[in-house]
């Protein structure tokens, strides 16, 4: 199968610190890929690089005279080299990132948040996809007019994923969607992601440190450690791996 996203020898430097070292991966259409790793493994850097946010960060740091960010390697999306493409153009092509720590617009209400996320879409279309987001997360329906800043962490995370979905992604990047959520809420979100993938043609990449809820649903997983690829394999293979078991399941 032709991979829709392939990353070749990706290296990201923050000044002299190497955040991602020679990382190579690919993912096919309709697959769920997991990027598993502890803190400071480079998961967020990878997500920022794939979504193009790193380009914006690079410009801002340079203007501040701060850390110099350098990106080497190649990212190909549907046969197109997108390594130096701006985030806007990536979103237009369907690569949408849901950043970590559920960033939402705290001063706007839930409905407005979802509508802002649909900025690139037509008005008639927004209404339809917003309703789809509510279908996926029914808990948000009766919170429609609540200010997003007053929602709980789990509700904010649902809203953040909903906002990413309103942008109609073809490749959805989820950065630590389970961070700071209760085990019950984690399960609920994982179920929602499963439903999502079965209902539409969507490719998902999840970066997460909680391997337990994520590994069962992924098709293929990469385990990162200190910016290096430590291990890769299908979800089943990773779950059966003794090292993964001891490190992530405590068995």
């Amino acid at each position: 199968m032709e991979p829709i996203l392939s990353v070749k020898n990706l290296m990201v430097f923050f000044e002299n610190a190497l955040a991602l070292n020679d990382f190579t991966m690919e993912t096919g259409e309709g697959q769920i890929t997991g990027i598993i790793g502890p803190n400071s493994a480079g998961k967020t850097t990878l997500m920022n690089t794939l979504s193009g946010l790193i380009i914006d960060m690079r410009i801002k740091e340079r203007r501040r005279g701060g850390e110099r960010i350098t990106v080497y390697g190649q990212i190909t999306y549907r046969g197109e080299d997108i390594t130096e493409m701006t985030p806007v153009n990536r979103v237009k092509r369907g690569i949408v990132l849901c950043r970590e720590r559920h960033p939402i617009f705290p001063e706007s209400n839930v409905l407005e948040n979802l509508r802002i996320a649909g900025y690139l879409k037509k008005r008639s279309r927004i209404k339809k996809i917003v309703n789809q987001a509510f279908d996926l997360f029914p808990a948000l329906i009766h919170l429609k007019n609540r200010k997003a800043g007053f929602l709980s962490g789990g509700e904010q995370q649902m809203l953040a994923i909903g906002m990413a979905l309103v942008a109609e992604p073809r490749l959805l990047l989820l950065d630590e969607p389970l961070l700071g959520l209760s085990p019950m809420m984690q399960q609920l979100l994982v179920e929602a992601i499963k439903v999502l993938i079965s209902e539409s043609v969507l490719t998902v990449m999840i970066a997460e440190q909680f391997a337990r809820p994520v590994l069962p649903i992924i098709n293929f997983g990469y385990i990162l450690e200190n910016g290096m690829l430590a291990l890769s394999g299908t979800g089943k293979e990773l779950m059966d791996n003794p090292e993964v078991k001891s490190a992530y399941f405590g068995v």
Binding site: M11, F13, Y72
Partner: protein, 333 residues
């Protein structure tokens, strides 16, 4: 094989920061030279100029003091748009003491510095709890308000101001007082912000709630910093008023608010040295550009824009980085 430009701190810098082990004269000079530069420049080099240029450097020192005062307030997160308030209060306090009671500058300068700072602190105390735009608004409005108050009630000579104040004994003395005070403020505040006290101050700017959580009264610290910043501004005002032999409404003019901010932005905020550097570029530049006549402001503005777009971090930060770091090409394996 791809190459990457690497930026590395010089060994001397790293050692002098952590363990402070200097092993040669070269290293001592490396650390001493940038600090000696303003001292030698201000005390030995600047007095060599012609009387006309000395005059300009005296007013540069006044603007540099105001820029330091602005930078002090910024270090605790208070963005002031009214340095002219401090300048005006300082100038009126010194002027009134000299005009009505005939006190000599040697007394009016310290009294105006401390007393003026106390007046400014009390006047701004109610808005000290506000952050961001609200503090800026009030500091912007206060000098304009006092200006009209003086005009309407005709206190302190009304629109004519207080004239015939006692001057300094001579231009060189005046220059040395200004430059010495500038150096004291520059090095004093740099030292202060490097101390544990400065740690708290910078902490309040970064995240005031975290500082509150540490059990510190942030409003008390903000008041102290406001007092210190106001003291520097009031000294500049008192000094300027004796320099002009006149205290009046121009002391509250917008120039004294805008110029220090421009100087601090061009030089780079947060280091005080940047503010001084900025003032020593902008004020003489504005004098040189006088030759252009009416186009002066256009070129001046253009220069400012080029600076802010070209080196947004500030000139001093840029120079410091180049001084402490070197770059080399390395292979990316």
């Amino acid at each position: 094989m791809k190459k990457r430009k690497e930026r590395i701190d010089r060994g001397i810098k790293v050692r002098s920061e952590d363990i402070f082990a200097l092993t040669s004269y070269r290293e001592m000079i490396y650390l001493l030279a940038p600090r000696a530069l303003p001292v030698v420049g201000l005390l030995l080099f600047v007095p060599l100029f012609s009387p006309y240029w000395r005059e300009i450097f005296i007013s540069t020192a006044i603007y540099a003091l105001l820029a330091i005062s602005w930078d002090v307030l910024v270090s605790v997160g208070l963005i002031s748009l009214g340095q002219s308030f401090f300048y005006g209060v300082g100038s009126y306090v010194a002027g009134a003491l000299n005009h009505y009671w005939g006190l000599p500058p040697v007394l009016t300068l310290p009294v105006a510095t401390i007393g003026g700072a106390a007046i400014c602190t009390i006047a701004l105390l109610p808005v000290l709890r506000l952050r961001g735009i609200y503090f800026s608004m009030v500091t912007l409005v206060l000098p304009l308000m006092i200006l009209r108050l003086v005009e309407a009630t005709r206190i302190f000579g009304g629109t004519e101001g207080l004239t015939g104040l006692s001057p300094f004994p001579g231009q060189l003395t005046e220059m040395y007082i200004a430059n010495a005070c500038l150096l004291i403020a520059l090095f004093g505040f740099r030292r202060l912000l490097d101390s544990d006290y400065g740690l708290i101050v910078r902490g309040i700017n970064d995240n005031d709630r975290a500082v509150m959580n540490a059990g510190l009264n942030i409003h008390w610290y903000k008041t102290q910093i406001l007092f210190l910043g106001a003291a520097v501004g009031c000294f500049a005002g008192a000094f300027g008023t004796h320099h002009d032999m006149f205290a009046g409404m121009p002391g509250f003019a917008l120039d004294y608010s805008i110029m220090p901010i421009a100087a601090a932005i061009v030089g780079g905020t947060g280091t005080f040295a940047g503010s001084v550097l900025g003032a020593f570029i902008l004020v003489p530049l504005s004098e040189i550009l006088r030759a252009l006549g009416a186009l002066r402001i256009v070129f001046y503005g253009l220069f400012l824009v080029i600076f802010v777009v070209g080196i947004p971090e500030g000139l001093f930060h840029y120079i410091r980085r180049k001084y402490h770091q070197f770059e080399r090409w390395v292979d990316v394996e």
